[in-house]
Symmetry: C2
Subunit: 319 residues, 2 copies
Amino acid sequence: MTNADIKTWVERIRAGDVRAVARAISAIEDSTTESTELLKALFPLSGKARVIGLTGAPGAGKSTLVDQLAREYRKSEKTVGIVAVDPTSPYTGGAILGDRIRMQAHHADTGIYIRSMATRGFLGGLARTTADVATALDASGKDVVLVETVGVGQDEIDIVRLAEVTVVILVPGMGDDVQSIKAGIMEIADIFVINKSDRDGADNVEKEIRMMQSLAMRKDAWMPSIVRTVATDGKGIPELAAAIEEYEKHLDKSGLRQKKNVNSWRERLVEMLRESLLQKLTRESLSEEQLNGYATEVAEHRRDPYTLVDEIIANFRKK
Amino acid sequence: MTNADIKTWVERIRAGDVRAVARAISAIEDSTTESTELLKALFPLSGKARVIGLTGAPGAGKSTLVDQLAREYRKSEKTVGIVAVDPTSPYTGGAILGDRIRMQAHHADTGIYIRSMATRGFLGGLARTTADVATALDASGKDVVLVETVGVGQDEIDIVRLAEVTVVILVPGMGDDVQSIKAGIMEIADIFVINKSDRDGADNVEKEIRMMQSLAMRKDAWMPSIVRTVATDGKGIPELAAAIEEYEKHLDKSGLRQKKNVNSWRERLVEMLRESLLQKLTRESLSEEQLNGYATEVAEHRRDPYTLVDEIIANFRKK
């Protein structure tokens, strides 16, 4: 792919051409050689979108909530990109089917773009990919990028912490009452949503969040607000949008947005270095065949892997 | 630390000195510079232990089951190392307290060593650390290393797939009936345990496992056995040990052990390269101060991170 090709591609993305955007995201997911060139060209066009991360246990009603929030932003003419990430699912098939069903709800609205990602390679990489996809959507001119992720494990924390605003979605009586929520999730939540709040137990969930909050003050002195929603009816969605805006104001007023961005980029740069180093090494200094040979030698205890790794790296650096 | 110091340390580990082993594991966890030298020296002494991975949802009774299995091995004079990993917990405090409580159950038995690991760095690394800790326990002369991990997410899959034998623990009526188990876990299970099998619903769990198995045959034609246990009473534990042994025989007979080991080492080598490259780069070419400066420039959109990463790597290679 020539520089001119990349340039045309970027122009089409910038114009919001859905196919060009979809092709960019696929290239980023597959980490193709041109995806880096593309991202180099897209980066200067990004930085305008608000990136909002939303996470919650399976069954918390995330997709419905995210769709409703997108609709809310559309009311004020804002364009929205949605990235739905399921780190636990090794297959994309179901995710893509889900996309189609979700897109139908917004059909004929070119102001919304939905994409899900489910696969991930061995050991890491999904958080970086998600961040790059958010950059592409940002560069395509979307005003808001909603990053939606299932669950409350470390993977999800890594993904949502790359967003400027993190919304944690809870539901009453699902066994994921706050007592059982890991410490990590309490720390990353800028806003709590109690979805399906017409169910019994919403008061209890709120009480428990408040109790947890009283035990551990956030470093930035922000007291995460709690918003009750019934996403299926659209109830509480304007209030959620308002809570997000309030937090964004706090970010700006306190100078925290800059600090958060720097922290986030420090982590992203390290992760990019990690992936890029390995990619260059495997492309230049380690064929599939060599790797198989080494693995066999180590498995048969004919070679110590720690010395071997040092040798491979020294060899890569000499090239 | 001199070569002679490493040599003394290795000798003490080899002799099964509990303090030397504990210090080795801490060095591996912290990825200190001497940990690599230590592992180079320990590797040739390893390869004798059977490494068994056990995973299951929180509340499945893993710790009790693992403790009982360790006791079972002790009956036949086998020494046992236990590594308990919780990727979702960011703190070690609780884990270490848990160790003490668990150690009391085996007090005065020097044939059992228990260690838990809970922290992990940003984006990955725990699977590699766990594998290196297993190597250290192996080199310390343990006959069996039990790697116990919470949950059924990608992290846990990465951890347990490094073991030769993988045991997946289910319980009746916990909502984690097989229907809801992700495809990934069905593929990695060499043996299923239905723990707390005196509860209602054990038959259903078994039926569902069988149904899933009839839908997808494993590539190696192994039909994972299903063992029912009540770990708190020790019921079914000898049967579990027998099922593990049966699978080990299958591994040897089919030549699969060698194949599995090569596959596992291929993945481990790649992961070791990834971590080691980054470690060398950050030590030699990227100070904390420089990284902060770069992160600020990128956050302010004064620099494109993709080009920056290429430059940092080129610089590292020239050194």
